[in-house]
């Protein structure tokens, strides 16, 4: 039985800024990391692998350097790692990205074994869209299970899966049949395990497979910049809200000032 975990190598967003003069993103010297939310997805898949005969394939899309994150992630105990990398993939928005990754999953289904479960993080920290997971579910016509906080039950024979997922005002327990795409929440129960030493040794020299569009053969008009309806028109530094008085006074006077403002606004 096959599972795929989708991961993305992202810049550490806390260190990204805009050059106010040129309006371009400053990424020089910003380190790349595995999208932190994806680690919960890896752990969720590995927990099922612990209990069943599940094989876990890591799948990523990005430039050749993204093999770094795949090599890091495979040491947690995944079976193989594949990078989808091609200059024709560059500039893809979420619609085109989900298409490319879904074609990667179809190829895994065809060549390695039918993929019953796809795990994603709830979103990435660079894009923050949470759109690729649902996009995969639609492209593959798999059951879409987002914001999953718990996998209550999975029966490999009946192919039934029961999960708990978050909604705005509560949690829903739902049951359906795989194949399914799950996006996993950052629950402590899904905190990533330490890489076992044996696994680290085994994977030290592991080289991920790289699939280009020669392998996937997707029509070039539906991927990359051409296949992406959304485009960035401009980027800019957020306009700061203007502050008011800053008082460096005795606590007594400070309290008086706060009381005045609270009264003006009818809070007290």
């Amino acid at each position: 039985m096959q599972a795929v975990v989708c991961i993305k190598q992202v810049p550490d967003t806390t260190q990204v800024s805009v050059n106010p003069e040129t309006g371009t993103i400053i990424r020089t010297g910003v380190p790349s990391v595995i999208n932190p939310y994806d680690l919960f997805a890896i752990e969720a898949a590995l927990q099922l692998k612990d209990k069943t005969d599940l094989e876990v394939t890591l799948l990523s899309m990005g430039p050749p350097q993204a093999t770094k994150s795949l090599k890091e992630a495979i040491s947690f105990g995944c079976d193989r790692a594949i990078l989808l990398s091609d200059r024709f993939f560059g500039g893809s928005d979420t619609l085109a990205t989900a298409l490319i990754i879904s074609e990667g999953i179809k190829k895994i289904s065809k060549e390695i074994g039918p993929v019953d479960l796809v795990f994603c993080g709830k979103q990435t920290i660079d894009g923050d869209t949470a759109q690729v997971g649902p996009g995969l579910a639609r492209r593959l016509d798999y059951l879409q299970l987002t914001y999953v906080s718990k996998i209550n039950d999975f029966n490999p024979n009946s192919k039934e899966i029961t999960v708990t997922r978050h909604l705005e005002n509560g949690q829903q327990v739902v049951k359906g049949n795989v194949p399914a795409v799950l996006t996993i929440l950052e629950e402590s129960s899904f905190r990533i395990r330490r890489s076992p030493l044996s696994q680290m040794i085994k994977t030290a020299k592991y080289e991920p497979l790289i699939w280009s569009n020669e392998d996937l053969k997707i029509d070039k008009s539906v991927i990359g910049l051409k296949g992406s309806p959304t485009m960035v028109k401009k980027i800019f530094a957020p306009e700061p809200r203007k502050g008011g008085d800053v008082l460096d006074v005795s606590p007594k006077e400070a309290v008086k000032a706060i009381i005045e403002r609270l009264e003006e606004r009818e809070v007290i």
């Binding site: 923050d128 759109q131 009381i259 609270l262």
Partner: protein, 338 residues
């Protein structure tokens, strides 16, 4: 151009009550529709939800597409995305807005894929480009360090966006407003839906989680609050002025507050009348979640803290020198007035 196929807002509802973001969307949709010279429509999906149609008209919708079916009772992706996609296919709206809530994001991404639409997540600004009449969608990126304006200049598909709750104001309802209600049948069959809801565990009503985003007064504890003893005093202050208690990421990181109470880019966006911070330094990711507050009061010990750059009243002080005297003073005034 079909004026009815103008700007659409999806009405998110739970057990027949609309999520307030739905009204925020209708207000924004109406502005965009005015710029385009088209009509504003709302989509209501659910079971026993027909009363919502007049409600959304009062908030500004010209037309309401209503699909009332038992299959749509609980939110499930498949019946919702199929029903909404059918409506979009039939009427080809120029723009479709959904709330950037859990449900809105789950639904929008599925519909966008189905329609091959461009979709921009979590927008905080929406405008019409005067030249091309295309939708300009502005959103924070890279954790709020950057703002990006996204558009779909080449695509003819419906332009879709999810909109962050609490960023757009709620319009004043007008109960006398008239609109057209278009009722549609749901073509789906329950036995074809590959998902059953077997349980629902509501968030406890004592929990502030659901209310924090819509609170009028918020007191937020930052990393500077430092320990549970200090937090108790902050809680007492919040209670005294009927405020909801929020936390910065710093306070969550040190285990003082729970993530559900976090205000900021990765937590809630708030828009209260008064927002008071105690020991919050003001990292960018916090500021993007509270910058729409009407009035900001901040107490921090570091006079160079970024929070003072946007606070309407900044107090440079140790919060422990302020909170207790403030509590005493408010109590004194309350007793006097009682």
């Amino acid at each position: 151009m079909d004026k009815k196929a103008g700007v659409w807002a999806f009405v998110e509802q739970f057990e027949g009550t609309a999520h307030p973001v739905s009204y925020e969307l209708i207000g924004k949709a109406k502005e965009l529709a005015a710029d385009l010279g088209v009509e504003t429509s709302a989509v209501v999906l659910g079971h026993n939800v027909s009363h919502l149609a007049q409600e959304v008209i009062s908030y500004g919708a010209d037309n309401v597409y209503l699909v009332d079916s038992e299959i749509l009772k609980d939110y499930r992706n498949e019946p919702y995305y199929k029903t909404l996609s059918e409506l979009v296919k039939e009427h080809s709206p120029q723009i479709l807005l959904l709330g950037a809530t859990i449900q809105g994001r789950d639904l929008a991404a599925a519909v966008a894929t189905e329609m091959k639409s461009g979709l921009t997540a979590d927008c905080t600004g929406l405008d019409i480009d005067p030249e091309t009449k295309k939708l300009l969608q502005t959103r924070p990126a890279y954790g709020g360090n950057i703002m990006a304006t996204i558009w779909c200049p080449k695509s003819e598909a419906t332009q879709m966006a999810t909109v962050r709750p609490r960023v757009m104001p709620i319009p004043e309802p007008d109960n006398k407003r008239k609109g057209k209600i278009i009722t549609k049948e749901c073509a789906l069959k329950e036995e074809d839906i590959n998902l059953k809801v077997i349980d629902f565990i509501p968030t406890k009503s004592t929990d502030d989680e659901a209310d924090l985003a819509y609170a009028d007064v918020i007191v937020t504890a930052g990393r500077g609050v430092a320990n549970p003893k200090n937090l108790d005093k902050v809680k007492e202050l919040a209670k005294l002025i009927n405020a909801h208690l929020g936390g910065s990421r710093g306070a969550v990181d040190i285990g003082l507050m729970d993530h559900k109470d976090q205000v900021g880019q990765t937590g809630k966006t708030v828009r209260p009348k008064v927002y008071m911070t105690l020991g919050v330094s003001g990292a960018i990711q916090h500021l993007v979640g509270m910058q729409f507050s009407d009035y900001i009061i901040s107490v921090n010990i570091d006079k160079n803290a970024p929070i003072f750059g946007l606070a309407d009243l900044g107090i440079v002080a140790d919060l422990n020198d302020i909170v207790l005297p403030l509590i005493e003073e408010i109590k004194k005034r309350k007793n006097k007035n009682a």
